[in-house]
Each structure stands twice: as structure tokens, then as C-alpha cells.
Amino acid sequence: MARKQRDILSVEWIKLELIRTAYATRGGLFTIMDPRAVIIWYAILAFVPWFTHNVTVLAGLFVLGAISVVIARVGPLVLGLFIIGLGFEIIYLVIASLMFGGNWETLIALGVLNLKLGAVSMASMAAFVSLDPEKLSDALLSFRAPHLLSFGVSYGYRMLPIMVEEFNTVFDGYRLRMMAPDKPGFLAWRTIVHWGKMAVLSFYPIFLNTAKNVRTTVEALETRGFTYAQSDPRGRKLRLAYLRITPLDVAVLATTIILVVGCFWLGAAFPVYR
């Protein structure tokens, strides 16, 4: 088969999708909101589903989640993984419940749990796809999360593209230099094993290289007052000075609360229990 340049479902594509997701480059409603409001919004949608067994309410919340995913412009990679994950979960549940002597009843009960998890997952996707590292770390800081956690979040985001790039480079090195199996084998199992092996082996040089690079980072943090800021509250105040709750934030939160209450009202009017 002749090789061609692929723009979708290639390593390059995964790299770009990760960056687009992490840095909220697609825009969407939640990216223009105050990050604290986004986190509160997320907290509402992530907690509420756990307080009910009413399928009508859960279905309503699931729909709310789906709408948020559309509004937040979640990318195809994350969404695809979610759908595949949910799909496999359902197939697995069917097989497991039938094998262990269950019946369709147990399956439906487990399906309700899936509905719950789905609603929460979609809210998470919508919220975290919309928060770039800066905003997320500042929001955490303003909620009095430990200094190290909020910095860790933003530093992790900064390292992500570099680590992905490094992984890609080292993996390519293995592709060029390690002998691939002569024959792909049944269902290409040899090739799959070979790729798995290269992926695992790639971590060895990456760990060593990163360990070496991070020494400079730690020294640089020290010289630029990172430790100092942990004992001096002025820095925190300056960093968070730009955060403002706007009418938009209030409107979005109010709408969400009304819709959630609406779901419960609907659930009370047409209850379905399993």
C-alpha cells in the first residue's frame, strides 16, 4: 500500500488535538467566562447526578451535558474517546451480565449508572476543554488550593506539548532503527506487539532526558521567587487581581440552576425508577 500524508487519525493529529484541548483554542461560551464561574458551574453539574436515582432526571441532566459539550466545542479526539469508552462499557456490561447469570434487569440497572457517569463526564469535558492552563491555575489559587497544586497544573500544561513532541521524536527514532517484524502475522498481531513495545521503550530515554532538564527549571523557579511567594500573600493578590465575575457569568450560572431544577421538576412529574 502506498504511503500518503494523513491529517486525521495520525500521530500529528493526536498531538494537535491534545494542544487544542489543553489550550482551549476552539473558543466557545465557557472560554470567555470567569474561570471561577466555570468551576462552580462544573461543580453543580458534577454533583447533582449523584443525588437521584430517577431516570427522568438523569436523562435530563444527560441532555444538559450533551448541550454543554456542543456549546464548549469539544474536539473530535476527546469526544471520540468518550463515545468509544461509553460504547465499550455497554458492550462489556451486556456480556458480563449475561455470562454471570444476570438478565436484562441488571443490565438496565447498570445502564442507569452509565447515564450518571455520562452526564458527569460530559460536564467535565465541557469545563476543562474551555479552561486554558492560566485560568485553571488562577481559579484553583483563588479557591485557596495549595500553591504547589495550582502551579503544578499550569506547569503540567506547559510541559505537555514538549513531552508529546519528545515522545514522537523518540518513537520515530525507534521506528527508524529497530527492526520491524518481517510478516505482520494473524490480524497484524506481530506489528501491534512491535508498536506496543516501541511505545513502552520510548519512555526510558524520555525519563532520563526530562530528569536532566528539570534541574534547570527548579533552580530557575527558586531565583524567580516561587518559594518566596508561598510565604508572601502579596503575590497571590496581584496574580488574581484581573478576575471579575461579569453579568454573563451570573446569567450562565442562573440558567444552569433553573435547567437543573427543571430536570428535577420533570422527574417529579414523570418519575421513572429502576
Binding site: 500518503k4 532503527r177 511567594a229
Partner: protein
């Protein structure tokens, strides 16, 4: 002038180390000086500079004796946080120094941490001084080398230090960019009165920009001299691994006592002595150009960007590489050099057009098979060290493919690059020059027809660079065709027999090295800085231009005999 740094009887030993890294250092640095700290590997340059901002002994706690006074503060009594307001530090691997996602946030990080209420003004001020405003919103991981270095410098300046230490700025940057960085340092020194300290290997930068030189050896300064005096100590500097700049070599070969600091001075020194060049027949660099090894046919390629559109990198390349070619691929950042190398290696295939290597279309084989014909070596040696020892790294390719007598091949290759005694060490622990030679060994053991190298001499000191250049010259016997993507004009002048200049993904010129240097327009567009000896030759009106010190000297000798 008053001293800003005063070091007396300083000794320091890292915890667990067997010997002192710094031994009885006595040194005074005046306010407003521009100091180059020079010396061989392990002479204690970096450790000395880390005593100025208190990283030694407060972060690196070891045996500390003596006294360091910085701007009136005893560093032992103070701390890193307080001293950082006085001393800024830009690291050699400055990329790892950037800790925030965007440029503006990076610059603001220090002032905000220290709770300066005027942080916004400070940030705006340095961003303007260093022309960073257009990059303010860019992600730090997406910056080019020069932009990242400027950002690191700005982040340090935002704390308004009196002293800035810059560790080997030239190492990771192309020459044109390195000159820009040095010019901003010079501006900070002259206009704002900051004291600048650089750790530097390259004599031409030292001679051109600094005001004084500290030579370190075995953990203590040998001397601290004014630059005019320091450039005349060429013998001593060369002993400590800093060969004299080419203009100084030319002058001393001709018996001129005064050492010039730059090309202009050298030219006027020589003309004032009545030395003129006579045309001399320079040795030609022959190319056979008969048998095609690799070929591109109307190759177009590009990458998807985060925004979703395709950024074109190569635009319709038609090239033929012949057996016997030693090609230097030059051009500015983003001109497509690395992309073209990766196309030849078959790591990716073109969006349109064909790449054919040794009769094989790259579309027809996976990269693992193509690497048997074309070997690609990355720019950063670290990324090529996949195994726990050099020997295993070199053996990975030939042993996996069960080459006949692969053990012998590995031994032979290691011997050829002079690394036999380090064969069982992890590559990461070697010096810069050894690392590059180790990657060359990896490439050689693949026994390719086409060897592709990405910046093999970047971030090397002068003597390791010469080592790599001569190893490359040796390879001509075993490799049919070598392509080197590079900014290093010394490599071009001394090694290449064909130069391909890329600009915006197109071939701007395909010439021999001597012709390249006669085209100033090309040099500027491709961000190239010719070696000093070429510029001096041009200044003296030579035609053809000399490519080495020997050629220039020979031609001046011939002129003197007329």
C-alpha cells in the same frame, strides 16, 4: 568605578564531591563592566557564577568558605530570593527556564511572585525594551530559540537586577541570532549601566563585545584582564580550549604584534602595513556529480497548524543529490531544512510530488526499511540515545537486522569516531562533542548511502566543533552522499562542496561555498554570518574569496612578494 562583586578567599565543594570545585577565588568585578568568564570544561565557571545569586551555597548546600559580597550584601547572610533582585541568571538551556504558558505571563512571573505593586509597568517596560510586545500572547513552548532566549532575558530583567549573568548564549542559537543577543546585552550594559557577565567559549564574540575577561582554570581565576590585553594572550587562551579568533590568527601568522578585536580593525591593521593580497590559485573542491543517489520531484509538503490550516513548508522542490556530494543545507528558521531531511529519511511522505532514494520511491516502503538506505540523525543527541550504553545504541540497528559480522562493524565504527573507551557509558553522561560523535557512530553503523544530519555542530565549543568537522570529512570514504542542515559557516567553508540555500521552502541558490560568500544578499536572507576570514578577505578586495586562514595568509604572502 566601584566594585559591584567582590569575592575573597572563596572555596566551595559540592556535597559528596571528592575535590573543591572552587579553590581560593579572589576576584573583583567593577560596576558597569561587561565580563566574559572563560575556561575549559570543569574549570568552575558556572559554579562561580552561581555564587553571585546565592544558588551556591543556599540552594546547592556544600562546603562554603570565604566571602562573596554582591552590591554590598554578603551572599552567605542573604538568600536566593533577595539576591535575585540584584542578580539575574539566564541559563545555557534557557528553554527549561521558561515555566509559564505564555510570554507575557513568563515575564510577569518574577515581579508578581515578589509582590511588586508596579509589576505591570515593569513587564511593559522590558517587553518594549526587548521588542517582545508582538510575542506577548504566544505560547512559550512554540517559540524559536532566539525568541525563547529573549523571553528568558526579559523575565530576568523584569526584576530590575544590577547584574545579569548569561551562560553560553551562543550555544543553542544560530550565529545571526547570537549576535543580536550580544547586541542587546551590549545595549543593556552601555545604556542602562547594567553589569553583564557571560560564560563564553567563542573568542570572536568575546573580542567583539566584552570589556574584560576572566580566565578560569582548576577552580580559580588565572587572571582578570582588560579585553585589549586579553586578546593578546592567544597562547594561554588556546591552551584552555579557546582558540584565537580567525582575524587574530591571520595577524599573528603575518607577524603583526597587535591583535585586532574585529574584522574592521584587522583590515585597517593589514592595509596600514601595506599588506595586499595577490590572486592565488585556491584548491578547488571537485564534485563528480554523475551518479544520482537521491532525488525530489516537485515535492510539496506542509504541516497542519493548531488553527487547522496547512502551513506550507516545502514548495515544489526539484533536487538531485549525487554520489560524492558533501551538501550543506542552509537557510533561516522555518525555511524547511529539517522537513526536507525528514522527507529524505522517509519519516514522512510529501503531500504531492515524489522522493526517490537510490531508485526507491519513499511511498513504497515504511521508514524502518528506508533507513537501510538513508540514515537521519537528530539535532539533539539526547534524543538518539535509546539504550543504556553507546555500544548498545550503535548496535541497535545492525544487530536487529542481523548484518553479517555486526559486532565487528560496531567496534570498527566506535574506533573510527574515537569513542571505543567510552563504549559502555550512557550517552547522556558524555561531553557535547563526544555526544555528537556518538550519534555519528549510530549513523555510520546503519551503513547508509545517504547520511542526513541536523545541525551536527550546534552548541559545541570550537575544538569539539573542529573534531566533528574532521570526522565528517573522514566519512567521504564510506558514505556516498552526506547532507548537513546547518547554520555553521565554518563547517560550510571547511567541509562542504555544494551549498543548497533554502528560502521559504524553495531553493534560493545551489552553489559551491566560495560562490555563496560572494552573494551578500543571499547571506542576509538566509540569516548567515560568514567566517571572519571570509569577511576579511572581502574587505581586502580579494577575488576569489579565501575560505580558511591558510588560504588568506598564503595570498597575503604572495602579495608581499610581488
Amino acid at each position: 568605578m566601584s566594585p559591584i562583586i567582590q569575592v575573597s578567599d572563596l572555596s566551595f565543594r559540592y556535597p559528596g564531591a571528592g575535590a573543591d570545585t572552587l579553590r581560593n577565588v579572589n576576584l573583583t568585578i567593577e560596576r558597569g563592566d561587561f565580563v566574559a568568564v572563560v575556561g575549559g570544561n570543569g574549570s568552575g565557571k558556572t559554579t562561580l557564577c552561581k555564587t553571585f545569586n546565592g544558588l551556591v551555597p543556599h540552594y546547592w548546600a556544600g562546603d562554603f568558605a570565604g566571602e562573596v559580597i554582591v552590591d554590598g550584601v554578603d551572599t552567605f547572610e542573604s538568600g536566593v530570593a533577595e539576591l535575585s533582585a540584584k542578580v539575574g541568571y539566564v541559563y545555557q538551556d534557557f528553554m527549561n527556564q521558561l515555566v509559564r504558558p505564555t510570554v507575557r505571563d513568563e515575564v510577569a512571573f518574577g515581579p508578581i511572585n515578589f509582590g511588586h505593586p508596579d509589576h505591570a509597568e515593569r513587564v511593559a517596560e522590558v517587553m518594549e525594551q526587548l521588542d517582545l510586545e508582538p510575542l506577548a500572547g504566544r505560547f512559550t513552548w512554540a517559540l524559536s530559540g532566539g525568541q525563547a532566549h529573549t523571553t528568558a532575558l526579559a523575565a530576568v530583567l523584569a526584576l530590575r537586577p544590577e547584574i545579569v549573568v548569561v551562560d553560553e548564549p551562543v550555544a543553542e542559537l544560530d550565529p545571526a541570532r547570537a549576535h543580536e543577543i550580544y547586541r542587546s546585552l551590549q545595549w543593556l550594559n552601555e545604556e542602562l549601566g547594567l553589569t553583564i557577565i557571560t560564560i563564553e567559549h567563542h573568542a570572536e564574540f568575546i573580542a567583539q563585545y566584552t570589556k574584560s575577561v576572566v580566565l578560569m582554570a582548576d577552580g580559580a581565576p588565572v587572571w582578570h584582564l582588560d579585553i585589549d590585553e586579553a586578546v593578546n594572550r592567544t597562547g594561554e587562551l588556546a591552551e584552555h580550549g579557546i582558540p584565537a579568533p580567525q582575524v587574530v590568527q591571520v595577524c599573528s601568522a603575518l607577524g603583526v604584534e597587535r591583535s585586532p578585536r574585529d574584522v574592521d580593525t584587522a583590515a585597517s591593521l593589514l592595509t596600514s602595513r601595506g599588506l595586499t593580497a595577490a590572486p592565488v590559485e585556491f584548491a578547488a573542491r571537485p564534485r563528480e556529480a554523475r551518479c544520482v543517489v537521491a532525488q525530489t520531484v516537485d515535492v510539496h509538503h506542509g504541516y497542519k497548524t493548531v488553527a487547522g490550516d496547512v502551513l506550507p513548508v516545502l514548495r515544489g522542490l526539484n533536487l538531485e543529490l549525487y554520489a560524492g556530494d558533501r551538501i550543506a543545507l542552509v537557510g533561516g528558521n522555518g525555511s524547511g531544512k529539517t522537513t526536507l531531511l525528514k522527507q529524505f529519511a522517509g519519516l514522512s511522505v510529501p503531500r504531492s510530488g515524489e522522493v526517490v532514494i537510490d531508485g526507491v520511491n519513499t511511498r513504497s516502503r515504511p521508514p524502518g526499511k528506508l533507513s537501510e538506505i538513508a540514515a537521519y540523525l537528530y539535532q539533539h543527541p539526547q534524543q538518539m540515545f535509546l539504550k543504556d550504553s553507546i555500544r548498545n545504541d550503535v548496535a541497535l540497528f545492525p544487530s536487529g537486522r542481523k548484518f553479517e559480522g555486526w559486532e565487528a562493524i560496531v567496534d570498527e565504527v566506535l574506533r573510527r569516531v574515537k569513542l571505543a573507551e567510552f563504549a559502555d557509558r550512557d550517552g547522556r553522561g558524555l561531553s557535547g562533542g563526544q555526544q555528537r560523535r556518538a550519534t555519528l557512530a549510530i549513523g555510520l553503523a546503519m551503513r547508509p548511502k545517504l547520511l542526513l544530519l541536523d545541525e551536527p555542530t550546534s552548541s559545541l565549543d570550537v575544538s569539539s566543533r573542529d573534531d566533528v568537522t574532521s570526522t565528517l570529512a573522514d566519512l567521504a570514504q564510506v558514505i556516498e552522499c552526506t547532507v548537513v542542515a546547518t547554520h555553521d559557516m565554518h563547517l560550510v567553508a571547511e567541509w562542504a562542496n555544494r551549498v543548497i540555500v533554502l528560502e521559504g521552502g524553495e531553493v534560493a541558490a545551489d552553489v559551491d561555498p566560495r560562490t555563496l560568500f560572494t552573494r551578500p544578499d543571499l547571506l542576509t536572507r538566509a540569516r548567515l554570518v560568514p567566517p571572519q576570514v571570509v569577511m576579511l578577505g572581502a574587505r581586502l578586495g580579494m577575488d576569489p574569496l579565501p575560505l580558511s586562514v591558510d588560504e588568506l595568509v598564503a595570498s597575503l604572502h604572495a602579495g608581499a612578494n610581488v
